[in-house]
Amino acid sequence: MPDMTLKPKTPLNGYSETFGATVLEEIAGMGLVSIATPRGGVDALQGAVQSAYGCALPPTGSSTIGNDGAIRLMGLQPGQVFALFAYDGDTAVTEIEKALGDNGYYTDQSDSWAMLHLSGSAAIDALARICPLDLDASVFPDGTVARTVMEHMGVIVLREGTDGFLLMAARSSAANFLHAVEQSVRNVT
């Protein structure tokens, strides 16, 4: 019997480009799982997160880092966080389930998003061309997370460090999203 094993593809085929001191690249190999808090179960989930990852559930709009950086929890909406962790398998939910048990409702989002990392001196100026959020460090410090809209596409923005941003947009419009970010970088560099 022939090998029918399905080959995975990333949304942006491993895109990576440097513009002077600014770097734009696809991030792949991540597990992303949404964790919803059962009604009345926030304490249980909080406890499970604390003991599994050694960090707190983040409030909406911010993130926490657990297990010495192995996992990041992002507060996307009331009662829902996204867990982001390095993972190459097909069953990211199982990983979370193993850690948190039945203290949350889990949905795999690993294949739902195209992820881009933008970093470097022009990052903020470039994002200012498409992102309505105030990304000034005084308002949007390291670890802040937000969902917003850029060029008609929903985007999740996570700040990592002084001039690094993880950007996540719907997988189906990955090419358009890359085009939008790339154009912004070109327009300011």
Binding site: L6, K9, T91, S112, I130, A175
Partner: protein
């Protein structure tokens, strides 16, 4: 002819000469010139024609308020009509042409309009051109239209690119004149995040145009030092060439930055950037605009505003004339006389409407106090002025000052009204300012330099303090504080000639008087009737004068007469700038499924489905018509197996202890008892009882469902369900998240669907008919361990499954499915074949679920459970939605099977005339059924289900067709539904 009017001084860079072309003439100017200053330097003053009378017109101002000097800038698709020469920054190779003439600028055939002026008074066109009736559209209107407008679009796509952006600040300072510079400096030193935006390419405002001293040195030096400090502050952003054009709610300002307009070519960078600036406070330091005086023939080239004449001399080193007269009602006009005289320009006369002693000595000039100008002479440029005392003075330039009006525009953008200030005879900002805005300097009516500096500093400090910052007043530089005395004077009533108020739209004092006499007395009616202030300059130099003449005619004061409201934008903004990058293919994002690349390789024809692109059909070599492909896809599917990408359907993950109860409420039919491992068709209503959407929902485990929606309604259904969850039933434990993007999903349909799937489904999963019956579902693995979800559901009416894998495997799965299907001659099929098959099965889709139809109309009335509370249940019971003669969805086929049905045809009983009274319904969807060999249709018709077998006319007058059709069951194919259970 090389810049013969250039004189000493100014801030142009004489080491950088620039060539440009105007009306075919090659000319030179310097870096730092505007097109207007360069034209004047070359002694070109006649630059355009007015709108209605085609009168010769020259440069009138030195700023954005320019009504006359409008040019067609650049060439070909880059050409830009109605560009104000006074703000067009000169660049090497600039090309400009004058506008609004037939023939040439010098010999304009339309100038004949001026002779007919008595018949073209305000509103004349409302009173004539009515007879004979047919002549309006054939004769009069085309003639009127042909003379419309000033400049011309190229008719070609705008070749430049544009960008947008978002900026955030604590304090936005609008205008970098003396007040703005001080405001920005004070605010900037407090640590506030400051944006200082100025429309000019040289910040400084009037300081560039005057000979003021600050702290005993020249003002330009002071400006440079302030700018250098501002540049050194990391919390201050200085934006040149940036016009703040509008004030919107909650501190949002619109600004346009001209990033490459001053360059010959944009070099691949955006031409302009449309900024949305979010501010906590704004300080408006927009300065003031000078206005004219109405007197006979005050519109000739060479008649200019006094401040502009001075600006050309001081800023650009250009003499607007050799022999200049000044006509003023205030001291400021005299500055023009003294500044020009100091530069060696001959001043012929100063005419001041005020009596008393002359405020200054002007060597060699005739001084006339308490006098006015009643008329001017000259055809294509002023040659003389006639004074009220009868004397005539030869001049080639007349500088007029009727006083200064603060630029209150942005204070009115949220419908605040300005107040009248008698001291300066002008409107000043009212009390009702946009939230967070303060005003300083000339924009507030402070018309001395010292006051501007002082107020600017104060406003900057106050704004910072409001935000909790510590701001100390900067040391206020010393400057002149001499108020410019003004005695209002608007209109030389003894003038016999026409006295212009709105130069561009050719509105004269007589037009205002006539409008008033005819009853158009409100300022708004006056404006509309005469078109005063409605030209490209929006009456910046004309509005107050018009109001004054109306007040004079009504015997009322100006504030009693009213004011007009200023609307955004402050100066016009290109439509392309508002659009930014959103044009062409980038107008909206394109969503592609994971199988897109594969489909493209197969040569699929794609179709827009909302934001998605979907394969519409997959042509094979030799197929010349889309129907060939579609028929083949349908027949192959029904005969063996076909595969369709259904990834675009909305998928919503629903989890929680109360998920079942929740679904029971949002669906009209019952969901509480759906067993685990089963799928059910769900009908979702709006609260008004109309069908919102339909789809299937699968129960994966006790507390876990996955819902599908139609492609079109995925976003709306999710939003609606979040509303239900958060707002209506907040105590339920239910959680929603979209899973649309997570899975690639394919329908595998046809008698061989199971056999095909069995080749890729991992052997431990039994998908036989017994183990996996119709409407079953389960989580499985395929191709050696890839997790997948399998649903046994059918839209085509065949034995069918939908299989979903994580999106990363979507490309792999379609290739695997096609490879596995090879032995069954599996075909990919597109949305057309999908549609044919669903019509053959009588399934409603978008054309039927159009928001105007109920479950009852669809023949699904009984699905709406009355035993439970669900959205839409109560209002669906309203009497008119349950009429005996209500619509019902049925099938149609042509009596003559060779004929083609048409969607959108209306049903008329046989023998009746096609009219509204006889209209009984319409055809919603049609298809050629290759299975049946003829055209079939679905449609709504009154009492449809009672009329099976009846023949009726499908009238399609818009396509000139009318055919007899038979009403039949909508289930054209396999009405018993045996195939899906096979």
């Amino acid at each position: 002819m090389s810049q013969r009017m250039r004189i000493n001084g100014g801030i142009v860079d004489r080491s950088k000469p620039l060539s440009f072309e105007f009306d075919g003439k090659q000319l030179q100017g310097f870096a730092g010139d505007t097109l207007a200053s360069a034209l004047l330097a070359n002694d070109i003053r006649f630059v355009g024609r007015s709108f209605k009378y085609h009168r010769p017109r020259g440069i009138f101002t030195a700023g954005p308020e320019e009504p006359n000097a409008l040019v067609q800038l650049r060439r070909g698709p880059y050409q830009e009509p109605n560009t104000r020469a006074t703000v067009a920054e000169l660049y090497d190779g600039l090309h400009a042409a004058s506008q609004n003439y037939r023939g040439s600028l010098n010999f304009d055939l339309m100038a004949v309009n001026d002779l007919f002026a008595p018949f073209l008074s305000a509103g004349f066109y409302y009173k004539t051109f009515m007879w004979p009736q047919a002549f309006w559209e054939k004769v009069y209107e085309p003639a009127i239209r042909a003379s419309a407008g000033l400049g011309r679009l190229s008719g070609k796509d705008d070749p430049d690119i544009y960008d947008k952006g978002f900026l955030h600040c604590d304090i936005l300072v609008i205008g970098a004149g003396p007040a703005g510079l001080m405001a920005a400096l004070t605010a900037g030193r407090s640590g506030a995040r400051v944006i200082l935006a100025d429309e000019d390419f040289a910040p400084g405002g009037r300081l560039n145009a005057e000979t003021h001293e600050i702290n005993g040195g020249d003002a330009q030096g002071w400006t440079a030092s302030v700018l250098s400090e501002l540049k050194s502050l990391p919390n201050v952003r200085l934006m040149k060439r940036t016009t703040v054009y509008g004030a919107y709610d909650h501190g949002v300002y619109g600004a346009l930055e001209k990033s490459t307009d001053h360059l010959p070519m944009s070099g691949g960078k955006p031409r302009q950037i449309l900024w949305r600036i979010y501010s906590k406070r704004a300080v408006l330091c927009a300065g003031a605009t000078e206005r004219s005086i109405a007197f006979g023939n005050n519109d000739r080239p060479g008649v200019m505003l006094a401040g502009a004449v001075r600006a050309y001399a001081n800023r650009w080193g250009v003499a607007p004339g050799r022999n200049v007269a000044i006509f003023t009602n205030n001291d400021d006009g005299w500055r023009t006389a003294t500044d020009l005289a100091a530069k060696g320009v001959s001043i012929a006369a100063v005419i001041d409407t005020r009596s008393g002693a002359a405020p200054a000595d002007v060597a060699g000039a005739t001084i006339a106090m308490g006098a006015s100008i009643v008329d001017t002479k000259g055809r294509k440029g002023i040659s003389a002025v006639t004074l009220s005392n009868g004397t005539t003075v030869p001049v080639d330039c007349l500088a007029v000052s009727g006083g200064w009006s603060p630029n209150v525009h942005l204070t009115c953008h949220q419908r605040g009204r300005p107040d009248w200030a008698d001291e300066i005879a002008a409107f000043v900002p009212g009390k009702d300012l946009p939230v967070g805005m303060s005003v300083a300097g000339a924009a507030k009516g402070a018309l001395t330099l010292a006051a501007c500096l002082q107020e600017g500093a104060k406003a900057g400090a106050q704004a910072a303090q409001d935000l909790g910052l510590t701001a100390s007043m900067a040391e206020i530089p010393e400057a002149s504080d001499e108020a410019s005395a003004i005695t209002p004077f608007w209109h030389v009533t003894e003038s016999k000639g026409r006295a212009w108020i709105d130069l561009q739209n050719d509105v004269t004092a007589k037009d205002v008087q006539l409008a008033k006499r005819e009853g158009y007395r409100s300022v708004e009616l006056l404006k509309r009737y005469t078109t005063l202030g409605m030209a490209t300059d929006q009456g910046k130099t004309a509005n107050v004068l018009g109001l004054a003449v109306l007040a004079e005619a009504s015997g009322k004061s100006i504030p009693e007469t009213g004011t007009t409201i200023f609307r955004p934008p402050y100066t016009p903004v290109p439509i392309a700038a508002f659009a930014g990058r959103s044009r062409g293919k980038d107008f909206r994002p394109t969503r592609l499924t994971p199988g897109h690349e594969w489909a493209a390789e197969q040569g699929a024809v794609f179709v827009e489905a909302g934001m998605w692109l979907r394969g519409q059909w997959f042509p094979k070599p030799g197929e010349t018509h889309w129907r060939e492909s579609v028929d083949r896809e349908v027949l192959a599917t029904r005969k063996s197996v076909g595969i369709c990408d259904v990834t675009t359907l909305g998928k919503i993950d629903v989890q929680g202890r109360d998920a079942a109860e929740f679904l029971n409420k949002v669906y009209a039919n019952g969901f509480a008892k759906l067993p685990v491992g089963k799928v059910r068709y769900g009908l979702m209503l709006r609260e008004d009882g109309m069908v919102m959407d339909d789809g299937t929902t699968a129960r994966l485990s006790e507390n876990h469902f996955v819902m599908t929606t139609t492609t079109a309604n995925a976003v709306g259904v999710f939003r609606h369900m979040e509303f239900c969850r958060q707002c209506l039933w907040p105590d339920l434990d239910v959680h929603l998240i979209s899973a649309t993007e997570q899975f690639a999903q394919y329908a595998v349909a046809g008698p061989n669907a199971r056999k095909l799937l069995q080749k890729i489904v991992d052997p431990e999963f039994d998908i036989s008919n017994d183990a996996f019956p119709f409407m079953g579902c389960g989580e499985i693995t395929v191709c050696g361990g890839t997790p997948a979800r399998l649903f046994r559901i059918s839209f085509s009416g065949e034995l069918a499954y939908e299989i979903a894998v994580p999106s990363r495997y979507g490309d792999g799965l379609i290739r695997a499915l096609m490879a596995a299907g090879e032995e069954f001659d599996a075909v990919p099929y597109g949305t057309e074949a999908l549609s044919v098959m669903r019509i053959e099965k009588g399934h409603p889709a978008g054309n039927e679920l159009n928001g105007q139809t109920t479950a009852r109309d669809m023949g699904m009335g009984r699905m709406v459970s009355k035993k439970k509370d669900s959205i839409g249940s109560i209002l669906s019971e309203r009497p008119e939605l349950n009429r005996e003669d209500g619509l019902a969805l049925v099938g149609f086929r042509p009596v003559d099977r060779a004929r083609q049905l048409k969607s959108g045809a209306h049903f008329i009983p046989k023998g009746k005339t096609p009219s509204l009274e006889n209209d009984e319904g319409w055809m919603t969807s049609v298809a050629y059924s290759p299975t049946l060999g003829h055209s079939i249709g679905l449609g709504f018709i009154k009492r449809g289900s009672d009329r099976l077998g009846e023949t009726i006319v499908a009238a399609d007058p818009i396509r000139g067709e009318s055919i007899e059709v038979e009403i039949v069951s909508p289930h054209f194919f396999d009405p018993e539904g045996e195939r899906v259970r096979a």
